[in-house]
């Protein structure tokens, strides 16, 4: 199957002082696949997602690399064509649903505007919009259409945003920590809704989160990001059952296991993640790694493709399986 989306060597810097924020990010996604990007805050997940849609904030820019979507390089597209792709072929859901909705416009009008803006041919836009709200589990869609975003709870707002992002049946849904602000029971509802819609629509998904529990149960493949770089990629099973990068392994070991009966001491990773622009030509995890060798401080380990699994480490942990 061919790649729907691939980022190749994508590097993002601040425009003014050329600080490197992400470096050499490679990820790819085949049609229908769900890829999770996990990483701690500041590791560059949001910037990577925003760069795909050409929505990087002012002051940061892509300095090298390619973003290919469905055969087109998004970085060199006409703004016109890029706007067409946004929303219609790629849509995005953000962490804070309040900023994704216009506070002074009813939810119904915002949904209709999406159809209108993209000249979407539907016979009866109103009923199309109503159905989309029912699909995402909003009870009483009639009333919801006439409501303003502030009249919704956080969970309902996120549902409305998801309805909006699914309205034009995109090929790819990018979700940036969409459930981080929600309670677990509401998160579960949203996860269930998203996975149902995804399989129904055969949609691809890029799911960004710092919550390892969520990706373990939602996506097919996982990319682990650390200090602006992808340090490990693999299928969800590979990453969680036999992590090879010491960071991935440390991260997993540091989490208390909700279902286990014992309460052993948590493994911890000393120190804090470095600023990506201060790493230079060495492994960004070297200072915190318990297996560090001289080589790790002298050169930069790159993602090394071995089948579907790849790890940016000179001394990967031998897989247990």
């Amino acid at each position: 199957m061919r790649d729907l989306l691939s980022l190749q060597g994508l590097s993002i810097q601040t425009s003014s002082d050329k600080r490197s924020l992400t470096a050499d990010v490679n990820i790819s996604l085949v049609e229908g696949e769900a890829l999770g990007i996990v990483g701690e805050s500041g590791s560059g997940k949001t910037l990577t997602a925003l760069s795909i849609l050409g929505l990087l904030p002012r002051g940061v820019e892509v300095v090298s690399g390619e973003i290919n979507f469905n055969g087109e390089n998004l970085l060199s597209l006409e703004p016109e064509r890029l706007r067409e792709i946004r929303g219609k072929e790629i849509s995005m859901v953000y962490q804070d649903p309040m900023t994704a909705l216009n506070p002074v416009m009813t939810v119904g009008n915002q949904l209709l505007e999406v159809l209108d803006y993209h000249n979407h041919e539907v016979k009866n836009p109103e009923s199309h919009v109503r159905e989309s709200l029912i699909e995402v589990g909003i009870p009483d869609p009639e009333r919801a259409l006439k409501s303003y975003p502030h009249e919704f709870s956080g969970g309902m707002r996120q549902r409305a945003v998801i309805a909006m992002s699914l309205l034009l049946s995109p090929k790819l849904l990018i979700a940036d920590e969409p459930t981080t602000a929600l309670d677990v029971t509401i998160q579960r509802q949203i996860l269930s809704l998203v996975s149902k819609q995804r399989s129904r629509r055969q949609m691809s998904m890029l799911w960004i989160t710092h919550d390892l529990g969520v990706v373990a149960n939602l996506v097919d493949r996982v990319a682990v990001m650390y200090a602006g770089r992808i340090v490990e990629v693999g299928t969800t099973k590979q990453i969680f059952n036999s992590p090879q990068h010491p960071y991935t392994q440390g991260l997993l070991a540091s989490l208390p296991v909700a279902s286990s009966r014992s309460r052993s001491r948590l493994a911890s990773i000393p120190g804090v993640p470095p600023k990506p622009w201060l790493v230079g030509q060495s492994c960004s995890f070297a200072d915190r790694c318990q297996f560090v060798q001289i080589r790790c401080r002298e050169s930069l380990p790159l993602l090394d493709a071995q089948g579907s699994k790849s790890v940016a480490c000179f001394y990967p942990i031998a897989s247990s399986t």
Binding site: S41, V184, T185, A216, L251, L255
Partner: protein
């Protein structure tokens, strides 16, 4: 020493809309010395409100919070104003819990000197000792909070609480704002301190896996009341209240790849605390509700010696 929370209510009147937020609705709990009580519940269920009441920042609308045994008993109104509260608080947000213009050594020293907890000449070594205990080296004493990482700030907050030599330390979501790789460190520190000094904790979190990791006893809260109470393994392995069951089922578990059953365990959302359903507050979402549930508020009743549930369908 035992802290007794007896049928406490807290209502916040909202002037503009002429409504009342019922943050706590008759909550009763005991915490005894050396014990760690974990409180878990979704946002808005009243966890932080309870913490503020215990430390005396606010007073209950109704009910009493009292210390038994060798701790002074005081009236409820502003009980600890200008006195060192026997319960100290560690907040969630490491960025607002330390004075940005106070060096961290000074922050600890002030607690000791304001209440003359040590002789003048012993204060310096006490500050160093407290910082060391939480894993902050002495040479960082003169730093300002913004020169520390989130995890280090949380350590300083813990040291500040320890400096007051409290009977009880309330930890209100102490690791929720920290990065995943830093959480384990702070959790381990809390466990170590408890062992070393025999501390008593009230550990509050919305994250059941953290509560499970540290608590002896767990209380599950829903809309300002305790719906289930028991030892940590009872509550997690053998949950009885339908809400506890749903909460546990909803936690995404990283140790079981792809095993999570994504079908929804609990429909709907938590009702607004301005308009709490009559009877059992959970009955509108409850899978096992019967008509009677909307008539009477179920009391927390024991099903075993150590486990209690507030559900009239479970305790019959």
């Amino acid at each position: 020493m035992t802290l007794v929370i007896d049928n406490v209510f807290k209502k916040y009147p909202i002037r503009q809309s002429k409504t009342v937020v019922n943050a706590l609705n008759g909550i009763s709990l005991n915490i005894s010395k050396g014990q760690t009580l974990g409180i878990v519940g979704e946002s808005g269920c009243g966890k932080s409100t309870l913490a503020r009441l215990i430390v005396g920042l606010e007073s209950p609308t109704q009910g009493a919070i009292t210390w038994r045994d060798n701790v002074l008993l005081r009236g409820s109104k502003n009980q600890w104003r200008n006195h060192l509260s026997p319960a100290q608080l560690v907040f969630q947000d490491p960025y607002s819990s330390l004075n940005p213009r106070q060096r961290i050594g000074e922050c600890i020293r002030e607690v000791i000197s304001a209440h003359n907890l040590r002789k003048k000449e012993e204060i310096d070594s006490r500050v160093t000792e407290l910082l060391k205990v939480v894993g902050i080296s002495e040479d960082m004493k003169n730093r300002y909070p913004h020169q520390l990482s989130g995890g280090q700030r949380q350590r300083v907050s813990i040291a500040r609480a320890l400096a007051a030599e409290p009977e009880l330390i309330i930890l209100d979501e102490p690791v929720s704002a920290l990065d995943v790789s830093v959480r384990a460190d702070v959790m381990n520190l809390l466990v170590d301190l408890r062992k070393e000094f025999g501390l008593t904790y009230l550990f509050i979190s919305h994250d059941l896996s953290m509560v499970r990791h540290i608590s002896d006893v767990i209380a599950v809260m829903y809309l300002g009341r305790v719906v289930e109470l028991g030892t940590w393994d009872e509550v997690l392995d053998n949950p009885q209240h339908p809400y506890t069951k749903a909460l546990i089922a909803a936690i995404p578990d990283h140790s079981q790849v792809g095993q999570m059953d994504l079908t929804v365990s609990l429909e709907g959302e938590v009702p607004s605390p301005t308009n709490i359903p009559l009877g059992c507050a959970f009955h509108v979402r409850c899978p096992i509700a019967v008509p009677n549930c909307s008539k009477m508020i179920p009391q927390l009743l024991p099903i075993k010696s150590s486990q209690s549930v507030a559900c009239s369908e479970v305790v019959k």
